[in-house]
């Protein structure tokens, strides 16, 4: 079974966000970029399926600027066998990304597609579900456990209030939540080997997909700053403040 994994290049998890002075967007100049953490979990799950002998091949795909190839090389170093880069400098939204991925699914015919549940830049949490709808495949979102069992996959999902397990027919789309696994670090020899693995470069036009969106970004602002308050010296003072100053007790 072939496993397809989508990865996204985003701002590094630890970088503090700055909004541009003209409020047009978040400032990404000279900012450290990395693979979206949920995509790392998706790659890890695919590589583990290969190590268990369930997956035969892991294909990584990314949509974005030329620099996204860095993240694809990371995916290859982590154990993906080959990569597809769909190059665009336009701001590709979830729907366009899902349309492109649907075309890749049509070409590659994977038994399973694994994506991160959301990207930490736009926080949309849409692409996997949209891909499932467009390919008419079942979806297991927010997965904390994935068990392939013959022609089915059991997915345990993190839902409000607890966990839900569902069974899906294969092929299926899975989106990874935080506790699906703990991703490994790439070893230096694997990073060297990854440079020689195949990486195909395509464009959205090759797939006949328009990137343009009907949603426009009018303005990006910093959120209202919350000011730190005071330190209290004792439990008594805390209770007094909550009762008489904040009036929440």
């Amino acid at each position: 079974m072939k496993v397809l994994v989508a990865v996204k290049r985003v701002i590094d998890y630890n970088v503090k966000i700055r909004v541009k002075a003209d409020q047009s967007d978040v400032d990404l100049t000279n900012v450290k970029m990395a693979m979206n953490p949920f995509c790392e979990i998706a790659i890890e799950e695919a590589v583990r399926l290969k190590e268990k002998g369930i997956a035969t091949e892991v294909v990584a795909v990314s949509i974005g600027p030329k620099a996204a190839q860095e993240q694809l090389r990371t995916a290859l170093a982590l154990g993906a066998d080959c990569a597809i880069h769909i190059e665009t400098d336009e701001r590709a939204e979830s729907l366009a990304v899902a349309k492109l991925l649907a075309k890749v699914v049509e070409e590659e015919q994977p038994g399973l597609v694994i994506l991160g549940k959301q990207a930490i830049d736009t926080d949309n949490n849409q692409t996997g579900q949209m891909l499932a709808a467009l390919t008419n495949l079942p979806q297991g979102t927010f997965a904390s456990e994935v068990v392939v069992d013959g022609d089915k996959v059991n997915v345990t999902r993190e839902i409000d209030g607890g966990l839900q397990t569902i069974a899906l027919t294969l092929p299926a789309i899975v989106t990874a939540d935080l506790r699906l696994n703990e991703p490994r670090y790439a070893k230096l020899p694997d990073i060297m080997k990854a440079k020689k693995k195949p990486l195909d470069v395509k464009t959205p036009a090759d797939y006949g997909v328009e990137i343009a969106s009907k949603v426009s970004l009018l303005k990006v602002e910093s959120p209202a700053e919350r000011k730190g308050g005071i330190k209290v010296a004792s439990v008594d003072e805390l209770i007094d403040k909550l009762k008489n100053e904040a009036k929440v007790l």
């Binding site: 503090k16 966000i17 909004v19 939204e93 979830s94 729907l95 549940k117 930490i120 736009t122 926080d123 949490n125 996997g128 579900q129 949209m130 891909l131 499932a132 709808a133 467009l134 079942p138 979806q139 297991g140 979102t141 927010f142 059991n154 999902r157 839902i159 409000d160 209030g161 607890g162 966990l163 839900q164 397990t165 569902i166 069974a167 027919t169 299926a172 935080l178 969106s213 009907k214 949603v215 970004l217 009018l218 303005k219 990006v220 602002e221 910093s222 959120p223 919350r226 730190g228 308050g229 005071i230 330190k231 209290v232 439990v235 805390l238 209770i239 909550l242 904040a246 929440v248 007790l249």
Partner: protein, 308 residues
């Protein structure tokens, strides 16, 4: 304008988030229909009919919609969305699971986690874990939106809107329900609680979370946790407050033994009053706390419980 709002259910009953989604729909303006989908959900439909501002409740009650699986719900929404200008759902795990399917099948973009309505086509939503707020305008003919319910005050009860049965039944041979493990608790639900007390890595282990129980009981508070506490296995995942967990905005949020990583702050910084209890006086949580108490939580918590 004409809006379809998907009702949130909790164990078959109408969840409080629905009244907030209706409030978001009122901010857009126009006729508001509430759609209740599931199996055995007529009580939920009757509860939805009482919500102020609702023109009509539509109820699709069938075994194929049991457990609100994404494939049949998405297919049903595609059938029902025609004629509406907006389809709304809360940004619960159900809304997030289902609405993008509708958007994709209608070939429109979706706006996720909307926190404010500027006009019928312009909305505010947090990006980068709430470290920036984007104002976005959608020119789609059908606007598909998930609503962050902490951004809207619930509408009240007092209506008696008509209930219409939807007999559309779709097929589903792709997905099936296996099991559910839901946390049982007499405490208020984390997302809608007026008070929340959360523990972090500083709690040391899962047993020590019992120290929060007595305080939660006295306050009528829900209990939450930081990602660090969940990852360490102290408590189950559904207690996580943060960017990828629950977003809460109670009147009072008490953070105990939580350092205050930005991902945690993203989930609670809109709380009205924040209290931080931590032994490290340099902990970033103090930068957002209205009242900070530096000290050993194992001494402070029993004292707080006895004095409340």
């Amino acid at each position: 304008m004409s809006i379809l709002a998907l009702a949130d259910l909790h164990e078959g009953q109408l969840a409080g988030a629905t009244a907030r989604v209706v409030a978001a729909a009122q901010a857009i303006g126009g006729d508001i229909d509430v759609l209740v989908v599931g199996e055995g959900v007529h009580a939920a439909a009757e509860a939805a009919a009482k919500l102020d501002g609702v023109s009509k409740v539509r109820v699709a009650d069938n075994a194929v919609y049991a457990h609100q699986l994404a494939e049949p719900m998405g297919a049903l929404l595609v059938e029902l969305a025609d004629g509406y200008t907006h389809v709304l759902a809360s940004a619960s795990t159900t809304g997030k699971n289902v609405l993008p399917r509708l958007a994709a099948l209608k070939d429109v973009s979706q706006l996720s986690d909307v926190i404010a309505v500027e006009s019928a086509d312009t909305f505010k939503r947090p990006i980068y874990a709430g470290n920036a707020i984007a104002t976005v305008k959608s020119d789609e003919a059908l606007k598909v939106i998930t609503v962050r319910t902490t951004g809207f005050d619930a509408v009240s009860d007092g209506n008696s809107a008509p209930i219409e049965v939807v007999d559309t039944v779709v097929e589903n041979n792709q997905s099936s329900f296996v099991k559910e493990e839901l946390a049982k608790s007499d405490r208020p639900e984390l997302g809608g609680a007026k008070m929340v007390i959360s523990g972090g890595r500083g709690m040391g282990n899962g047993d020590n979370f019992k120290l929060l129980d007595g305080i939660a009981d006295k306050l009528g508070a829900a209990i939450g946790a930081s990602r660090a506490a969940v990852d360490a296995g102290f408590v189950p995942n559904d207690m996580q407050v943060g960017q990828t967990g629950k977003i809460v905005a109670p009147d009072l949020y008490i953070a105990v033994g939580i350092s205050g990583a930005i991902q945690h702050l993203a989930g609670m910084k809109d709380s009205k009053v924040i209290v931080a209890i931590n032994k490290d006086e340099e902990a970033p949580i103090f930068q957002v706390a209205d009242y900070g108490l530096v000290g050993d939580l194992f001494e402070i918590l029993p004292e707080l419980e006895s004095k409340l």
